[in-house]
Amino acid sequence: MEKQQLSKDPYNIVITGVGGQGNVMASRLLGNMLVRKGCQVTIGETFGASQRGGSVMSHLRVSAGSVWSPQIPKGRADIIAALEPVEALRVLMRYGNPEVMVLTNTRPLYPVAVIGGELDYPSPEEIGTTIRELSAHAWFIAATDEAIKLGNPILGNIVMIGAIAGTGELPISREDFREAFLNSMPATKLDVNLRAFDLGVEKVKQAGGLKPVPAPPK
C-alpha cells in the first residue's frame, strides 16, 4: 500500500446523527475503506447511551502516517456528514469553519422536547439557509427517503457514505466500499448496500460535485 496524499493532513471528518441511525457503523466502514488505502485513521466516538435518542458524533482523523487525537479540535472539520439535519447545525457550531463541506440527510428526527411541544424544530428552509451560510459547499440528500425506496431506512447511512465518496475529497472508491463491507458484514446484504452507496455518489454528482452550483438563469 502506498502512502496517500491528502488535501490536508490530518483530514477531519465528522459523521453525526441520532442514536440508532447507524452512525457508528458508517464511521467504521469509512475508516476501514481508508485504512485499505494505506491511511492512518483515528476514530473517536461516543456511544452507550446513543441508542436512546441522543445526538451522536464520530470524529474521523485521516492521515498519511500519524495517529491523531480521537477528538477534532474546535473549528477544524473538513467534511461534516449529517444523518439528521439539525445535527449538522449542532456540529457546525463547534467544528465548522468557512471552508467546511456539509452533506445533510434531509429527514428530520424530532427530539422529545420538540415532540412534547416545549422546543421548536427549524423549518427545512431555515436549516438549508443556515447550513449554506456556514459552509463552503453544501449538499442536501434525501438519504432516508431513498433508503426507504431500497427497502430499509437504516441504509440512509450507506447513502451518506456514498455521498462522501462522491465529493472526491478522499481517496476511496466503490471497490473499497465493497471490500470493507465484506470484511465485516454478510455478503447477502452487499447488493442493496452497494446500491445505496451508488445512490449517494450519484446524488452528489447530480448536484455538480464539488464545483459550486451555477446560479439559476435570471
Binding site: 466516538e45 436512546r52 495517529v67 477528538q71 411541544g117 424544530y121
Partner: protein, 649 residues
C-alpha cells in the same frame, strides 16, 4: 466470516476499536480465560472474545457481577493459566474486596484487570477514578495511550503479572475503548497451558502452596517487594517515553489518551521545538530515576490528565524528594487551575493551558467572525436532544403504569432507582414520568427501599417501591432482597425483566438459556429465587396496561412485607425483536382529538414515544414509520381510539 481478531498473520494492519485491540493483546498473550460484567465503555472486550472463543479455545463468561468475574479469572490464574477480567470503573469498586485479598495472596498464571473509565461520564452516572486502587491495594497500573499500545500493553501486562506474581491493572478510557485506530498485529501463540491447581507443596510456596493472604505481615512485605520489582521494570519500560527537544521550555507529563491531546496541541501551536512530552504508560509505581532524568530537562512542567490529579500528586511527591539535587520545579496542572478536575479533556483545553504558560495567544481554532455568525444563526435552531426510552421500550410502559398507580394510590409513594436503561426514569422527559427519586449503584435501589420500608415506626406513610433490571437482579439485588424480607420491610420490588443486559448491548446473564459463548445454559429463574426467599411473586406484561396497573395498585394496598412484581417484556432492541414490528400503527386523523379538551396531545405531550410526532400544521398526531417499533402501546393510551394498530404481516 472469521473474526479478524484471530488473524494469524503477523504484521498485518487493521482498524481496531480500542477494546478490540485489548482483546487482541490478550489473545497474543495466550489468554485462556476471560470474564467480565458488562459496563460501558468496557463491554466490547469480552464481547469480541466471545466471538473467537471456539477458534481460540478460550473460556469466556459474562459473570453475575464484577467480584464473581474476578474470582473466576483468579481461579484460572491459580490453575496456571493466563486470565483477563474486565469491567467499567464502578465495577472495580464492586470487586475491590476480593481484589484486596487477591493482591495479598498473589497469583500464578498471568492475570490482568482491564477497567475502562469514563471521564466526563459520557455513559455513566459517575466519573470516578479507580486508578487510586493501584497505590491503595499496592498493585501495578498501566495506561495505554493509543490503539497500538492498547494491544501491546495488554500483551505485556501478562508478562509483568507473571514476573511479579501479582495481578496488574490496565486502565482504558472511553475515548480509547470506543475509539478506533490502526493496529499492527503481533504473533498468536500456538499452544495453550494445561490447567492444574498445585496445592500440596510447602504452605508458603508461591507455586505449590496455599493461596491466601496470611501470614499477613510476611505476605504484605512480599507484596511490597513485588511493587519494588515492578518499579525497576518500569525504569526500562518502552511504554514510558519522551519525545521533544533536548531542552524543552515546557515539559508536558501525561498518560492515557491525553497523550494524543498533548501531541495535537503542540502541533496546533507549532511549538514542536520548544515543548517535550513525557508519556507514562506505567503510572504506578512511577520509576523515580526515569522521572528525575526528564524533570531535569526543564523548570516548567504541565501535568495533563483527566479528572483527578493522580499523576500530578505522585510526580510532585517524588519531585519534592529530588529537589535538593534537582532543584525546585514549577508545576502547572489542576492545582494551579490550568485544567479542571472534572470532565474529560480535549486538544483545545491542552492548547489553552499550554498557550497560557508559554504566553501564546495567536492560536485560532475557529475564526471569531465565523463563531459569532454560527452562534447567531444556529444556536436558536438546535433544539436539545434529551435521551429517552427507545420506541417500543417496555420501560416507558412500565413507568407509565407505576406513575399512574402511585398517583391513584395518593400517598406520595416513590421509586428508588438503580443502574440500567431505566435509570433514565430519573429524568422526567425521558419517559419516567417523575417517579424515580433516588439513583445509586447496582442493586442499591432495593437496599435503600428496604431501609425506607422499615420507617413506619417513625411515622413514614409513603409507599416504597424499587425497580431493577433482570441482569441487575442477579448482580446485586439478591442480598438486599433477602435483607428486606428477613427484616419485614414494607416495600415493592419491580423487576423490569427485558430479557438481557440491554443497556450495554444485550449481553447474556444467568436468567437466559444461552451463555456468553452461545452454548446452552440453565436459566436461573428470578421468580423462583424470590419464592425460595419467601416472597410472593406476580408476573405481568407491562404492555397489558390496565391489568398491570391494577396489580400495582393492589400490591400498594397490601402493606405487608416485601412484594415482588416481575414486569416481563423483551427489549425493543433485542435481536429477536429488532427486526420485526408486531403491529403496523397509524393515526385515524378524523378521530384524533389533538389539542382539544378530551385529549390535549396525550401521546406526544405526555407519553412521548419518539415514534409519534405532532404535526403542527394539521394539529394531528402522526406516526413516524421509520422510528415506530410497532409495540402498539400508544393505541392503548389514546383516549379517542385514534391510534389504530393491526398485526403486522
Amino acid at each position: 466470516m472469521m473474526s479478524k481478531l484471530i488473524a494469524q498473520k503477523e504484521g498485518v494492519e487493521y482498524l481496531l476499536m480500542g477494546n478490540e485491540a485489548i482483546s487482541r493483546g490478550a489473545l497474543e498473550a495466550g489468554v485462556s480465560v476471560a470474564c467480565g460484567y458488562p459496563g460501558t465503555p468496557s463491554s466490547e472486550i469480552i464481547e469480541s472474545l466471545c466471538r473467537v472463543a471456539k477458534e481460540g479455545n478460550l473460556y469466556v463468561e459474562w459473570s453475575a457481577n464484577e467480584k464473581v468475574s474476578m474470582e473466576v479469572a483468579a481461579a484460572a490464574s491459580f490453575a496456571g493459566m493466563r486470565s483477563l477480567c474486565t469491567m467499567k470503573q464502578n465495577g472495580v469498586h464492586v470487586a475491590s474486596d476480593f481484589l484486596l485479598h487477591l493482591a495479598a495472596s498473589g497469583i500464578r498464571g498471568g492475570m490482568i484487570l482491564v477497567f475502562c473509565e469514563d471521564p466526563g461520564a459520557l455513559s455513566s452516572v459517575n466519573e470516578v477514578e479507580s486508578r487510586y486502587f493501584a497505590p491503595m491495594i499496592e498493585i501495578p497500573l498501566l495506561e495505554p495511550a493509543n490503539f497500538q499500545e492498547a494491544k501491546d500493553m495488554t500483551r505485556w501486562a501478562f508478562e509483568l503479572s507473571e514476573e511479579i506474581k501479582n495481578i496488574v491493572m490496565v486502565r482504558s478510557v472511553t475515548r480509547l475503548s470506543h475509539g478506533s485506530g490502526n493496529v499492527i498485529f503481533g504473533k498468536l501463540p500456538n499452544t495453550k497451558r494445561q490447567a492444574e491447581f498445585r496445592c500440596d507443596g510447602p504452605i508458603l510456596d508461591p507455586d505449590t502452596g496455599l493461596v491466601f493472604s496470611a501470614p499477613v505481615v510476611y505476605k504484605h512485605q512480599l507484596q511490597q517487594e513485588k511493587i519494588k520489582r515492578a518499579e525497576e521494570i518500569f525504569e526500562r519500560s518502552p511504554f514510558n517515553t519522551y519525545e521533544g527537544p533536548e531542552k524543552p521550555g515546557v515539559l508536558l507529563i501525561t498518560s492515557s489518551i491525553c497523550y494524543l491531546y498533548c501531541r495535537e496541541a503542540i502541533s496546533l501551536l507549532g511549538v514542536e521545538d520548544r515543548v517535550g512530552v513525557l508519556k507514562f504508560g506505567a503510572t504506578w509505581p512511577l520509576p523515580p530515576s526515569f522521572l528525575k532524568r526528564h524533570l531535569s530537562l526543564t523548570d516548567k512542567i504541565l501535568m495533563v490528565e483527566e479528572v483527578r490529579p493522580f499523576l500530578e500528586e505522585r510526580v510532585k511527591i517524588l519531585a519534592a524528594g529530588m529537589a535538593p539535587e534537582m532543584g525546585i520545579k514549577t508545576f502547572y496542572g489542576k492545582e494551579t487551575g490550568h485544567f479542571p478536575s472534572v470532565g474529560e479533556l480535549n486538544p483545545d483545553l491542552v492548547v489553552s493551558a499550554l498557550g497560557k504558560i508559554m504566553g501564546i495567544n495567536s492560536y485560532v481554532g475557529m475564526p471569531a467572525d465565523y463563531e459569532k455568525k454560527a452562534q447567531a444563526l444556529a444556536s436558536t435552531k438546535t433544539p436539545q436532544r434529551d435521551l429517552t426510552f427507545c420506541p417500543g421500550c417496555p420501560h416507558r410502559a412500565s413507568f407509565w403504569l407505576i406513575h399512574n398507580a402511585l398517583q391513584m394510590d395518593g400517598r406520595r409513594g416513590f421509586v428508588c432507582g438503580d443502574i440500567g436503561c431505566y435509570s433514565m426514569a430519573i429524568l422526567s422527559p425521558a419517559g419516567g414520568f417523575g417517579v424515580m427519586k433516588t439513583l445509586h449503584s447496582m442493586g442499591s435501589g432495593t437496599g435503600i427501599a428496604g431501609g425506607f420500608g422499615k420507617f413506619g415506626q417513625f411515622g413514614m406513610e409513603q409507599p416504597v417501591l424499587t425497580v431493577c433490571g433482570d441482569s441487575t437482579f442477579y448482580h446485586a439485588v439478591i442480598p438486599a432482597l433477602i435483607n428486606a424480607v428477613h427484616h419485614r420491610a414494607n416495600m415493592i420490588l419491580i423487576v423490569l425483566d427485558n430479557g438481557g443486559t440491554a443497556m450495554t448491548g444485550f449481553q447474556s446473564h444467568p436468567g437466559l438459556t444461552v451463555n456468553a459463548m452461545g452454548e446452552e445454559a440453565p436459566a436461573v429463574d428470578i421468580a423462583r429465587i424470590c419464592e425460595a426467599i419467601g416472597v410472593k411473586v406476580e408476573i405481568r406484561d407491562p404492555f397489558d396496561l390496565e391489568e398491570t396497573r391494577e396489580t400495582i395498585n393492589r400490591l400498594l394496598e397490601d402493606e405487608e412485607g416485601v412484594r415482588v412484581l416481575i414486569l416481563r417484556q423483551i427489549c425493543g432492541l433485542s435481536p429477536e425483536k429488532k427486526a420485526a414490528k408486531r403491529y403496523e400503527v397509524r393515526i385515524d386523523e378524523a378521530l384524533c382529538l389533538g389539542e382539544n379538551c378530551g385529549c390535549n396531545r396525550l401521546c406526544t405531550r405526555i407519553f412521548r414515544c419518539p415514534g409519534i410526532n405532532w404535526d403542527r400544521q394539521k394539529k394531528k398526531a402522526r406516526i413516524d414509520e421509520v422510528i415506530c417499533a410497532g409495540c402498539g402501546v400508544c393505541s392503548s393510551i389514546c383516549p379517542a381510539g385514534a391510534i389504530k394498530r393491526e398485526e403486522a404481516a
